[in-house]
């Protein structure tokens, strides 16, 4: 039971199994395609009978995220999952959690928008995930899995980062990663923390005034501007520390590259195939895959700008991450974007064509 397990499953199912195995205390969610398997898998696994994990289907995404707000306020490891339109509904709660500095995990399995859009995969919520999304100056820690294995691995990583910095973390996947089946090594079981451990690790949490300590208050409210600025500056200093310490990325065939593709998630997998095709035609291309979308690997992109003749941002959207690449490159080399919209996944060959057209 405590051992790791090798199995074949969907990305969404891997999220659910990883949550149970990494000591998650509570999941609160609402069904939406293409991520409903997360809640369905949890309901079928009945973790409340094994690890004691709470699983609750809420009446809306608005309620789900506020259940997460309440649960996180008590120092528990709590999470939700949804897809683009549902995550839009959660933005109020996410902003409050960033303001109240609450650690939690939000999984967004993106589908095409805007509006009700489509149920096919998309990466068109990069801006929403990385630039705040809700009101106020804040950031989520955003992890972008490119495989079912990373869906499983990033659950515990996201909780670790969220609690390290008292900040909500997001796994930003897409419908392809959520729905496709792959081999996955599930992590070994880790017990949920005891009440004593939570109280020790989270002295700020609203657990009741155990031992007669002073009351703990979880709030994002401060009406005095001078005080609110101090709170904001403290949160911003935390973001600078995260940018300094938590950037994660993967490099692929960049050593001799004349051109670079920057891509995350599903798009990065397509990019690897495109690179293979391009290299067979004598075009030396490599890949930089941001694993953390926020903090963005700005320094690595800057380094690339000193090496390659051009950068192509491959995204399954109309061009969002490309703005962060351009900010990092500061005009030193041409930066182009290629993407498909509306739930269409780009073909590796058309990426190669886009590369040739761009430079």
């Amino acid at each position: 039971m405590a051992d790791q397990e090798i199995t074949l499953m969907k990305g969404n199912e891997a999220i659910a199994h990883a949550a149970i195995r990494c000591g998650c205390d509570g999941y609160f969610g609402y069904p939406i395609t293409p991520q409903s398997e997360v809640l369905e898998t949890l309901a079928a696994e009945k973790p409340w009978e094994t690890t004691g994990m709470v699983v609750l289907q809420a009446e809306s995404e608005v309620s789900s995220i506020n259940m997460v707000y309440g649960g996180a306020s008590t120092g528990k490891r709590v999470m939700t999952s949804s897809s683009s339109p549902g995550v839009s509904l959660m933005q109020e709660g996410i902003s409050y959690m960033a303001g109240a500095e609450l650690p939690a995990l939000i999984v967004d399995v993106m589908r095409g928008g805007p509006g009700l859009g489509t149920i096919q995969p998309s990466q068109s919520d990069y801006f929403q995930a990385c630039k705040g999304g809700g009101h106020g100056d804040y950031h989520l820690i955003v992890l972008a899995p490119a495989s079912v294995q990373e869906m499983a691995d990033f659950v515990d990583l996201a909780f670790t980062l969220a609690f390290r910095y008292r900040n909500p973390a997001m796994i930003l996947a897409d419908g392809a990663i959520g729905q496709m089946m792959e081999k996955v090594v599930l992590p070994p079981f880790k017990p949920r923390r005891t009440e004593e451990e939570i109280i020790k690790e989270c002295p700020w949490a609203t657990t009741g005034r155990v031992g007669g300590r002073k009351p703990n208050i979880i709030t994002s409210l401060e009406l005095r501007s001078e005080e609110m600025e101090v709170i904001n500056l403290r949160i911003q200093a935390k973001y600078r520390e995260i940018e300094e310490k938590e950037v994660r990325f993967e490099e692929f065939m960049l050593d001799d590259a004349d051109y670079a593709i920057v891509a995350f998630g599903s798009a990065a997998r397509i990019a690897k195939k495109s690179i293979e095709i391009a290299r067979s035609q004598g075009i030396k291309v490599g890949l930089l895959r941001p694993i953390t979308l926020w903090p963005f690997p700005t320094k690595e992109v800057q380094k690339l700008a000193g090496q390659v003749k051009g950068i192509l941002s491959l995204e399954i959207n109309a061009g969002q991450m490309v703005e962060d690449i351009r900010l990092a490159v500061e005009g030193r080399v041409p930066v182009r974007h290629f993407g498909r919209l509306g739930g269409i996944i780009p073909d590796p060959d058309e990426v190669v064509e886009a590369l040739k057209r761009s430079f």
Binding site: D25, G26, F28, V54, L56, A58, E59, S60, V62, S63, S64, N66, M67, V68, Y69, G70, G71, S73, T74, K76, V78, E92, G93, Y96, A100, T206, T207, G208, R209, V210, G211, G212, K214, P215, N216, I217, I218, T219, S220, L221
Partner: protein
């Protein structure tokens, strides 16, 4: 004579609950919130739950409730308190978990969270302050504003053709299978205060006994929003509010569970 000397002589006939701290309240003189804060504090103390209580404050006049009652508090987004309370109680089942909400928060923007938390039979209590107006934002129309009543956003009086009817959300709550105890109280007289306190105590006890969700409505005054003296506001409440919002136990299935 100092405070301590008076206490030594055994002349104390009344003291505020120790959970109610000395922070000056921001509530208007004559507002019902202060009395209800006191009752909630007393009940928590008397139940011996000081170190096991997690309270949720709303958006509205009671947003700063956490400044006055010395228990752990979570400050929720507008209307979402029952969602926070649901998760908190499920994750910490041995804690006393309650929300404290006004009519705009609970019966308007948070209607879905309220109804569904109550109907899931979450073992929580919702303290519902109904003063038929948005107090904090300056006296606008609430879902509970009576017909004919004048507010900043219905300055000529609430009309059915323009604004629809006032919402009796407590009556709705009483129809839900998930609720255990649903009651409507007031705190305008000593007798009413004593009844309201017993109601809060009963609701808190039911929630700790796992009997389901509990809603205690307190029909309240907002003398600033109503633009009346505290005394006149109490009288107006008796003459107008109670006719529409009857003071009574609407449901009590605690004994059967």
């Amino acid at each position: 004579m100092t405070r301590e000397e008076i206490i030594e002589k055994g002349q104390v006939v009344y003291h505020k609950p120790t959970l109610l701290n000395d922070t000056p309240m921001h509530y208007c003189p004559g507002c019902s919130h202060g009395v209800v804060h006191k009752l909630v504090s007393e009940v928590i103390e008397e139940m011996g739950m000081t170190d096991k209580t997690i309270a949720i404050s709303p958006v509205g006049c009671a947003v700063f409730a956490y400044k006055y009652i010395d228990v752990d508090w979570q400050e929720a987004a507008h209307g979402r308190a029952p969602a926070l309370a649901s998760a908190t109680k499920r994750l910490w089942p041995d804690r006393l978990v309650f929300t404290y909400q006004g009519d705009g928060d609970l019966a308007c923007i948070g209607t879905a969270e309220t109804i569904h938390a109550l109907n899931r039979a979450e073992n929580i209590t919702i303290i519902f302050i109904n003063n038929a107006i948005y107090g904090m934002t300056g006296g606008q129309m609430a879902p509970t504003t009576l017909l004919g009543m004048k507010t900043a956003t219905c300055p000529y009086g609430r009309e059915v053709s323009l604004h629809g009817y006032p919402l009796k959300i407590t009556e709705i709550a009483a129809t839900l299978d998930g609720t255990c105890y649903v009651t409507r109280q007031a705190v305008h007289t000593v007798a009413a205060i004593n009844r309201a306190k017993r109601a809060i105590r009963k609701a808190f006890e039911y929630s700790m006994q796992g009997k389901g969700s509990n809603l205690v409505e307190i029909v309240s005054t907002c003398n600033s929003g109503w633009k009346m003296s505290p005394e006149k506001a109490n009288k107006w409440m008796e003459e107008n509010m109670f006719e529409f919002y009857h003071l009574e136990d609407l449901k009590d299935t605690g004994a059967d569970k």
